[in-house]
Structure formats: structure tokens, C-alpha cells
């Protein structure tokens, strides 16, 4: 995208003609911008999808004066499609299989490369019983890690290689051992046992203290 910016101090509120040229060939001629406010910069920009080299120029004509700007060695920026990984960590337990998914919208990359957080390229791993990559040439790739261990946790990077560039996404795995949920489980189970014991013991204790007041209590409850 090429941008031309003309700063004009004139109070002249006439129309201004803009001409864009590439290598002296006119692309857009006499693109008029009318009635700009005083002291406002005049902007004109040019969008192109094909790359070009060489020079191009934009030209502003205000009444009888011509302002010209030259661009040398223009280049275009190519936007590669973003790769979607997953922001929320995937939680799994030791021994489970985990599938990591990366997607690249509607654009199919030439290939996918998976990296682990410490920089090893996973797709070149020979450990076929542990790692499996599917969807190498589609817009959705999956990395399946079997029998995952705690040390396998961390960030996994997927890199989509396009003709014109590369794009990365990342997925986080958190590997927990079974002890992690078991601790609160036992805590709650212990609480249950303690409460039940308290309730039953209190009842036995108060029954010993009770005499014929027993039946009257039940009748009262009945009338509630």
C-alpha cells in the first residue's frame, strides 16, 4: 500500500487532482479530491495486490502548482493467514492420549511442522507409537500424543508453511497426575465421614439423655 500525504497551508479550497504513475506510466489519473478543509493534510493512497519493483510516483496538482513524490523500490506486504491454536490449556492426565489441533482458516498450507517448546521438530520424530501427525496438507492438522507423561507438558507450536511465508500457532498442554484431583476428593470425603459421625454420635448421646419426653417431641413435630 502506497501512501501520499500532502501538507498544504493554503486557504485555497479548490479541488486537487491526484495522479498515480508507475515507471512513468499513469495508473490512475485525475482522481479529484474536492473541498478539503484549510490546513488539513491531503491523503491519497494506492492499493495493489501484485508486487512491483521500480519507481512509482504520486502527483498532486493544486491550481497551477504540481507537487510530486517519488517512491523507489516499492514492495508489498503479504499477509499470511493466521493459524489458530488454543489459548486455554488442554488438561490431561498421565497415560491419556491427547490430540492437538491447529487450523489455518480457508487457506491450505504446503505443509505443517510441529515443534515442541524446547525447539525439537516433532514431525521428524521416529517414535511412531507416541506421536502421530495427521492432516499434513489440509487446513487442519492434528498431533496425537499417546501415553502422555508429565514432562510432555508445555507449549507445542504448529507452523504452517505457505508459498509466500510461514505462520505459527501454539497449543498448551498441562499434564496432571491423578493425585491432583484426588487430594480435594479425599478432603471432601473426610468431611463427609466426620459430619456423619458427629450427627450419629450426637443422636446417640441425646437419646441416652431422653426419657419419656421422646413421644411428646414426635407429636409436636407431627403437628407442625
Amino acid at each position: 500500500r502506497l501512501l501520499c500525504n500532502l501538507a498544504l497551508q493554503s486557504s485555497d479550497l479548490t479541488t486537487i487532482k491526484v495522479t498515480w504513475k508507475k515507471d512513468n506510466e499513469t495508473i490512475i489519473a485525475n482522481n479529484t479530491i474536492a473541498n478539503k478543509k484549510e490546513n488539513q493534510n491531503i491523503l491519497s493512497d494506492q492499493h495493489h495486490c501484485t508486487p512491483w519493483q521500480g519507481s512509482s510516483s504520486c502527483q498532486f496538482q493544486v491550481r497551477n502548482t504540481t507537487f510530486k513524490a517519488n517512491f523507489l523500490n516499492c514492495f508489498c506486504l503479504f499477509l499470511v493467514p493466521a493459524v489458530e491454536g488454543k489459548e486455554k490449556p488442554i488438561i490431561s492426565y498421565e497415560g491419556d492420549s491427547v490430540v492437538l489441533i491447529c487450523q489455518s482458516a480457508n487457506y491450505t498450507p504446503v505443509e505443517w511442522v510441529w515443534y515442541m517448546s524446547n525447539g525439537n521438530a516433532v514431525s521428524s520424530f521416529q517414535m511412531n507409537d507416541k506421536y502421530e501427525v495427521t492432516g499434513q496438507h489440509t487446513n487442519k492438522t492434528k498431533l496425537k500424543v499417546q501415553k502422555i507423561l508429565e514432562k510432555d507438558g508445555g507449549w507445542y507450536h504448529c507452523q504452517a508453511v505457505f508459498k509466500l511465508g510461514e505462520s505459527k500457532g501454539k497449543v498448551n498442554i498441562k499434564v496432571l497426575s491423578y493425585m491432583v484431583p484426588l487430594k480435594p476428593f479425599f478432603a471432601i470425603a473426610a468431611e463427609v465421614v466426620i459430619l456423619v459421625a458427629i450427627i450419629l454420635l450426637y443422636e446417640m448421646y441425646s437419646k441416652k439423655k431422653q426419657t419419656p419426653i421422646d413421644e411428646k417431641e414426635f407429636e409436636q413435630i407431627e403437628q407442625l
Binding site: 486455554k88 488438561i91 492426565y93 491432583v180 476428593f185 463427609v192 459430619l195 450427627i199 407442625l224
Partner: protein
Amino acid sequence: MKPASGRFTTKSFFTQRIVNLWNLLPEEAVKARLGNLTARYGARPVVMTGGVFSGLGLLLASFATSLAHLYLCIGLFSGFGWALVFTPSVASVARYFKKRRTLATGLAFTGVGLSSFAFSPLFQFLVDTYAWRGALMLVAAMSFNLVVCGALIRPLALKEDLAGPGCLHLLSHWPFMRYVFAITLINTGYFIPYVHLVARTRELGFDEYQAAFLMSVAAVADLCGRLFSGWLADCGAFRLLHILVAWTSLTGISLVLIPLGQGYPLLATIATCYGFFSGALTPVVFSIVPEIVGIGNIFGSLGLLQMIESIGGLLGAPLSGWLRDTTGDYTASFVAAGAFLLAGTLVLLTLPNFSSWRCLSWAPLPSQGCPLLLLVGRGPVCVPPGQDES
């Protein structure tokens, strides 16, 4: 008692509902037997055992390696446990309270609404932190607290308690069976919004947050309805049967009106009404049973009622899904649900003594601590046949 929710990849709503509710089948199958068990051993051991089973089922499910394993654990074990917990608990409330039975039942049922609220974000948090396995494990631990609740149910000996056989003699109690039939019809339509309202909202084009908000609003209305109904019923100004008929017909009407809610405010209003009325009928459904069969038969009758009414619940959602599949949208489903409710209402009208109570006009109303009646002052007072007005 709401159907379990799950995630399925099949597009057919009918299949979804069948698979969802298959979980409930074993639970319902045991409910009739429970009347027997509870009458013999008392509510406390049964509820405590139920608590153990429900927690155990969820715990075993957390180790599941296949869908079938999950179904068996949650459906069979936990389902069995929940069945053991529910009926004796409701029956115990009915036994402990006589004058304020409906309000007590309504209050007891508010637990359902409150836990729904608390549990949705809590479960999401558990899944995010511990994945589904850990989450199930912790939910199992929380379920074990049902044992604590069971321990709190002190045994009560009433003079009407029968030492006799369980519940089978109730099958020949004709008014009770008519009541069960009415409630079964009502149950068929009752759960439809719980399974289909969110989908209906999405179908109209609203997003998932709007749909979830709708359900929350209905849940709040449900809670209010339960409490209000309990309080109103115990005021004593109206017969429980009349109150029940009023709530069920209003629920049926609001169900039929749901398809008319095309815009979000209107749909939200109708959903709120549905929530309120459906909540209102719940405590009355249970507290009216001792009036029909006597408090001595409460365990057996509630068990039988639960078992047979759940046939309606099990059939209702798949039927609704099938209607959706064949007609293309949910209009027919909701109208059918409302129709079932109104049909149940009609059966309720056939119950004995529905209209044989004599209602006098403009006598001073017995207030029984009900400020509403104090305000009104004078109104229709109904007495059962054979009793003179005081």
C-alpha cells in the same frame, strides 16, 4: 429432577434425546421397589445408601474409557443412588410437616434451583482446572454429602404408619391411579422446555448467551414459583386440588404460547411465566398425595408415582425431538407439550370430590397467618362434604 445434559455429535434431535434419557431408565425402574424398602427400614438408611451409590457411580465414571462405561456408571449406579435419595427425602418432608406441608416441600425443592445456579459455573471451573475426569471425581465427592443429608433424617413414628406390605395394594386405589395418570401426562410435557428451550432460542437466531440467560431467568422464576405456591397452598384458602389444576393449566397455556414468542422480550416473558407456573406446581404435586392415600402410605405411593410418571418424562423429550425432526421447527413440540399438560389437567378434574366441596360465599376467611387473606377479609370458604360450616 432434570434430564442429564451431554454433548453429542448426531444431528438428529430424536436420537439425542433417546440417548440422553437412556441414563434415567435404570433410575426409574427401582423407584417402585423403594416404597417397600423405605417402609421397612425407614428413610434414613435408604437415603444414606443412595448417597453412597450416587457418589460411587460418578467416581467410577471418572475412570471411564468408553461411552458405554460412562452410561453404566452414571446411569446405573448413580441413577440408582439418586432414586434411593429422592423419594424417601420428599416423603420424609411430607411426614414431618402437616400444616405447612406444601411450603416445606416447596422450600425443599428450592435446593434444585439454587444448585443449578451454583453448579453451572462451578462445573465449568472444575472442568477447566481438572479436565472432565477430575471434575467427575470432585462431583462424586460432593455427592457423598447426600450421606450427611440422609443422616439428618431422624426416624419418625406416626400413628398412621402401616406395618403391612409395600405399595402394590395402591395399584387398586382407583383415585390414586387416576392421579398418577394425570401426573404422567403432565410429566410428558413438563420437561420439554428444559431440553428444548435453548435450542429453540438458538433456532430463532439468538446467540448462546441470550439463550443461557433465558434459562436462568426461567430458573429464577421457577424458584419463586415454588416458594409462592408453597406459601399459598398452606394458607388454606383454597383446596390443594384446585390450586394444582390452576398451576397445571397455566403451565400448559404458557407452553403453547412459547412458539408465539418470536421477539426476545416476548419469549423471555413467556419463558418466565412457564418457569413460575411449572415451579409452582411442583410442591403441590407431592404434598397432595397424603390427601389422596393417607400419610401412612406415603413412601409406597410416592415411589409408585415417581416410577410411573417417569414413563411420561422418558417419552416426552424423544417425542418432542421427533416432532422437531419431522416438522422442521419446535412449534409442534411445544404445542404438544402444552397439550399433554392440559390433558393431565383434565384428568385431574375427574378426581373425586373435585366439585363436591361446598363453597360458601363471602364468609370471613380463616387467615392462618396469611397476610393476603387478612387483606381480603371475606371470600369463598370451601368445606369438604359432610362437614358443616363453622
